[in-house]
């Protein structure tokens, strides 16, 4: 059992937690947490499973993950702004299906 394996398992657990959170959370901010946690778990997986090149870490996955992190932040920032606006418009920061009138104009 080396540390890579440990982190892979951690990624699995984190992903599960993220998925669970995404499903059971009502509040959008928590959904965003969940998505971010899922993202982090994927990033961990990518880096943890990368094959070292002659003892040195493969820079490609790390570069990819770095980009991924920035993109995740961007999306999260936008998601937050969207959430705030939703809350301003409807008083709630949730996507509960009951709130939506069918075929709303």
């Amino acid at each position: 059992m080396d540390s890579a394996t440990l982190y892979v398992l951690a990624a699995a657990v984190l992903f599960g937690i993220g998925v669970h959170g995404l499903i059971v959370s009502a509040h959008l901010m928590r959904k965003l947490f969940a998505i971010n946690i899922m993202g982090s778990s994927i990033f961990i997986l990518l880096v943890a499973t990368a094959t070292p090149i002659s003892g040195q870490a493969d820079p490609i996955p790390q570069a990819l993950v770095l980009t991924g992190i920035v993109i995740a932040v961007s999306a999260t920032a936008f998601g937050l702004a969207l959430m705030v606006r939703m809350s301003q418009e409807t008083g709630k920061a949730t996507l509960a299906v009951e709130d939506e009138p069918e075929n709303d104009d």
């Binding site: 998925v19 995404l22 499903i23 959904k31 996507l95 299906v97 939506e100 069918e102």
Partner: protein, 542 residues
């Protein structure tokens, strides 16, 4: 040209009738004479053919149609005069029908090919409808309805027959029929045509319409219906289904017995009737039965075929003129005393084959024809038909005496018709070698049936036999009508309730709403994605 004129003139006049008054003057002036146009072809004996109208039209006058053309020309023209003086209301329709019928009759008489004949026949059938409905009373409507139904039954049979013929020989000229003997004798067309034309002739049991329709029409219309129009069927027979050399005897016998049955049954039913025109109508049925018997003889006795055919034409001429005269009698005379009596009696006696009348000539010729043939026995039966006819006309006379007509007047046209009924057949017979030399036994053969009639009449008067009113007018038609009464109910349109069209859509909408409701949650998409990954994995992984 004359033949074309005979057809087109009445048609043109007919088309002018619905027009406003001022365009109608010419039509009105010419109408009573329109039948006379038929004399022209009789004189010129044209034979013409045109390729471009319809399916090609050819017109001609020959031995076969000559007597009927003569009959039509005379009876129609004289009846037209009669009608001109007596028909008062709704003249437009009457004359449209009258002229249409005339045009159709002329065309079918003159026609030399199948299609033209059929066109004339159809025109005649439809136009006659207007004559029958003229009175616009419930009886007339009923009669017209029955007429139309029966006419179309007949028309259907005729059309089938004609189409069957057309399929094998095209729109053939009648003259060429002799070249197709084998085709014709084998084809069902023959029977269809026989039956179809029999409807028009009133042969039992296809006569249903006749006792209803003839009486309800105005008098002159009845006259031509009974005197002339029924002969259109005969013309059809003569043209389409002449006896063929190959015909077996049973065909002839069948026709003969059917004709004789009609002849007697017509009289029996006629005797139970109470209206004079009905009685006369049954008389027509009876007489047409006789003609059918004669027609049957042409098949049974092929070696006398031509003579018999001439005889059939002669019988038609004779019956047509006399029966028309009798019908005109219903409209004018009966209370006119002696002249009226005479004018009624002359045609009646002629029909009963009183010696030296045209009926006598016909009967004699027939009897002579069957003499020394397998059909010898018919001699007696034919004599008995005279008895029957005489009885029926006596019955008619009895009714006529007790009927009061409004405004009795002596129409010259009536008298002329009676006269022509006496004279023309003789002239015709003379011209066609139909006069048998007078022999005593023949005279006796003509007289004994009439004596028998007198005896029966005397007995009837003494014993006060009354058969009237036991058989309704139109006999079988009553049954048929009862059966047909159920038809409208079967055909009636049942209004189906319109189901709200959105029913299915509503259901679909609910379903979709439900589905979408659950779909929208991220969970559902996640689950679906997971499942899809699994499925894709499974399918990709071999």
């Amino acid at each position: 040209m004359s033949a074309v004129l005979a057809v087109v003139l009445p048609l043109t006049l007919m088309l002018l009738f619905p027009a406003p008054e001022r365009y109608r003057r010419l039509a009105i002036a010419l109408t009573p004479w329109s039948g006379a146009a038929l004399f022209l072809p009789l004189l010129t004996r044209p034979e013409v053919a045109f390729s471009w109208p319809l399916l090609g039209v050819s017109l001609r006058v020959d031995e076969v149609n000559q007597p009927l053309i003569l009959l039509t020309a005379v009876a129609w023209n004289l009846s037209a005069w009669f009608a001109w003086n007596t028909i008062e209301r709704d003249r437009r329709w009457f004359w449209s029908g009258w002229l249409g019928a005339l045009s159709g009759m002329s065309l079918l008489l003159l026609a030399g090919d199948i299609a033209s004949f059929y066109i004339g026949y159809a025109l005649l059938t439809l136009s006659a409808y207007l004559l029958i409905t003229h009175e616009h009373n419930p009886q007339a409507w009923r009669a017209a309805r029955v007429y139309l139904v029966m006419a179309f039954v007949g028309e259907a049979a005729i059309l089938s027959g004609i189409l069957l013929l057309a399929g094998t020989i095209g729109n053939a000229d009648f003259a060429s029929f002799t070249g197709h003997h084998e085709t014709l004798s084998a084809s069902p067309a023959r029977w269809l045509l026989l039956a179809g034309f029999a409807v028009k002739m009133g042969i039992m049991p296809l006569h249903l319409w006749l006792p209803l329709a003839h009486p309800v029409a105005p008098v002159p219309a009845s006259a031509i219906l009974s005197g002339v129009i029924v002969k259109a069927g005969l013309m059809g027979w003569l043209r389409f289904v002449p006896g063929l050399p190959e015909d077996p005897a049973w065909i002839g016998w069948t026709l003969i017995w059917l004709g004789l049955f009609t002849a007697f049954a017509g009289v029996v039913i006629g005797l139970t009737q109470e209206r004079i025109k009905t009685v006369l109508a049954y008389s027509t049925i009876s007489q047409m039965g006789l003609i059918l018997a004669a027609f049957g003889l042409t098949i049974l006795l092929p070696d006398q075929r031509n003579a018999l055919l001439a005889l059939v034409g002669f019988m038609a001429l004779h019956h047509g003129l006399n029966k028309a005269a009798l019908f005109l009698a219903c409209g004018s005379s009966l209370a006119l005393g002696r002249i009226g009596t005479v004018l009624f009696a002359l045609p009646a006696l002629s029909l009963s084959a009183f010696p030296f009348t045209s009926g006598y000539l016909a009967k004699n010729a027939l009897k002579a024809a069957v003499h020394h043939t397998p059909a010898e026995i018919l001699g007696v039966v034919l004599a008995l038909t005279s008895t029957a006819t005489a009885l029926l006309l006596w019955h008619a006379w009895q009714i006529a005496r007790h009927t009061r007509t409004r405004n009795p007047s002596l129409q010259p046209s009536w008298a002329l018709l009676v006269l022509s009924g006496l004279v023309l057949p003789w002239i015709w017979a003379a011209g066609h070698d139909l006069i048998e030399p007078v022999k005593i036994y023949m005279l006796w053969a003509a007289v004994w049936p009439l004596i028998l009639t007198a005896v029966i009449v005397a007995a009837a008067v003494r014993l006060n036999w009354r058969a009237s009113g036991q058989i309704p007018e139109g006999d079988l038609v009553v049954l048929v009508e009862q059966l047909a009464g159920h038809l409208p109910r079967l055909l009636a349109q049942r209004e189906r309730r319109h189901r709200p069209h959105s029913h299915l859509l509503d259901r679909l909408h609910q379903l979709q709403g439900f589905f979408e409701h659950h779909q929208r949650s991220v969970q559902a998409t996640g689950l679906a994605a997971l499942l899809l990954i699994g499925l894709l994995w499974l399918t990709l992984w071999n």
